[in-house]
Symmetry: C2
Subunit: 300 residues, 2 copies
């Protein structure tokens, strides 16, 4: 009988095998934590694994560059892949089961049934990537059904993705708990991203100004400045301290991603900035409880 | 500790209570069979329960008139309800758990995330009910997540609904097995339906001709007549034997609901006929294996 005794990394490539290894009846009360990724693992992913290991008995990571979430003209083909390195990193970080399906294994057939996000997908990065979040919700629903995790771990850097997934789980009673994991940053505050290597030397020096601008925005939010004034000041700070071109700087309720009201329990201040060869995103999510904010990176 | 020891009917109205009663860790290896309904139970529903009891240890039935699957101008308000009678019938039939949520309990919030069916929803009854199957897929996904059934039971009378749900389960790896249950018929062959009471006396006498026409269509399919000829003959038979107005008579691959090809493994011959105060649907699903068909009502 297949069980879930995991002494070392187990690599699984088919849905059928993963489902049988993770069968609820064989779990013996052990909890499963799930970390879905597109591979090319960096510190941010390792933080997800670390957090999963704190809460769950068995940690499952998936590596799947999901074609359904790339639009025409986007970088599906050139998306960075380094499976050998990823496997070593996953094993070292203590992943128990690594699920690496092919696209054929994940999408053997397509009837055209789609999951369409609501207005949450029309703001921030979603406004520039039509169809992107359809593909995200599709793969997430499939992976949740295959793995059946007790908890699933997502980074707060992809805040819009996290907002949509939290909402999908809530509105469709999906059987997993979503755990938010803080953005991992360089010592100078720049959010870790595989895209940072595409910054040139002077851009790399400027880039931490993005997060510094967001922190000032957060202070201004605490000081009860208006959303317009907060956004304007962040825009000015980024413009005067970097050579990048601002895509957006936006303050919204979180995770609804609608305009802020006095009932907003959480808010997000998010931005995207284009540099010569790459585009960076960053954000701060703040609780409005008791009139104070709690930045997502409060342990920094 | 709440368990799933079910000596008599247990009525549950909240998602939270149902989830805790059906918690996988408390099931002790017992299987759960699920029968989703909109209530006003008739013989067809009782057959679903009976089949579930043959396969599963615990039978859960839901009664929920799902507003999301009624379009504007459809009969959500006037849809027949008789909860007291339903509870008696469910208890007598041996249902273990009856889930009766309110609309507020099922849809406490709406972010606008929708599940859109593909072209399967554009034929047969779906062509006249835009948005209907969005609402069906939404409630089905929610109920599957809440109940987490090993098997779920659906009647073959609602063949398009069944086709869509089978496809949704396949393409999104939903964690339940779909069991098809044959249409229950009156002695004269008329498919059981709560709508049959709306036929007037002469229509009631004519109505069995619908199924007889479908059976002749099935014979013609076996005799390898063309889809066009098969459909035409069924139309002629219904027209000459009833006063009803034909909405459609259609032969398609099943469950894809696309045009028949030589690779079709199953086909459906389906029709809808309007009478004075009601509209009846019926169908025959045939396997094409070994060149023979197997009507879905072969035990009749």
């Amino acid at each position: 009988m297949m069980g879930v005794e995991c002494k070392s990394l187990q690599i699984i490539q088919t849905v059928r095998e993963l489902e049988s290894v993770l069968n609820r009846d064989f779990r013996m009360g052990k909890t499963v934590g799930f970390v879905p990724t597109m591979g090319f693992l960096h510190e941010g992913h390792l933080r997800l694994i670390e957090t999963a290991k704190e809460h769950d008995d068995i940690v499952v990571m998936s590596i799947f560059v999901n074609p359904a979430q790339f639009g025409p003209g986007e970088d599906f083909e050139s998306y960075p892949r380094d499976l050998e390195n990823d496997i070593m990193k996953a094993e070292k970080a203590g992943v128990d089961i690594l699920f690496i399906p092919t696209a054929q294994e994940m999408y053997p057939s397509d009837s055209g049934i789609r999951i369409l996000p609501g207005p949450q997908a029309d703001v921030l990065c979603g406004s520039k990537r039509p169809g992107h979040f359809d593909g995200v919700l599709k793969v997430v629903l499939k992976l949740f059904n295959i793995v059946d995790p007790d908890r699933s771990y997502f980074g707060m850097k992809d805040a819009q993705q996290l907002a949509l997934i939290e909402t999908f789980v809530r509105d469709f009673n999906l059987r997993t708990q979503i755990v938010r994991v803080s953005t991992v940053r360089e010592e100078d505050g720049l959010a870790r991203s595989s895209r940072n290597v595409n910054l040139n030397a002077s851009e790399r020096l400027e880039a931490p100004s993005i997060y510094r601008a967001l922190l000032i925005g957060a202070e201004n939010f605490d000081a009860q400045k208006s959303p317009q004034d907060i956004e304007r000041e962040v825009v000015e700070l980024i413009n005067s301290n970097t050579s990048g071109e601002i895509d957006y700087v936006t303050l919204l309720s979180y995770p609804s991603l609608t305009a802020i009201t006095k009932d907003s329990k959480e808010v997000i201040l998010a931005c995207a900035v284009k540099f010569t060869n790459t585009r960076l995103i960053d954000n701060i999510i703040m609780s409005t409880k008791d009139g104070f904010h709690v930045p997502n990176d409060d342990e920094q």
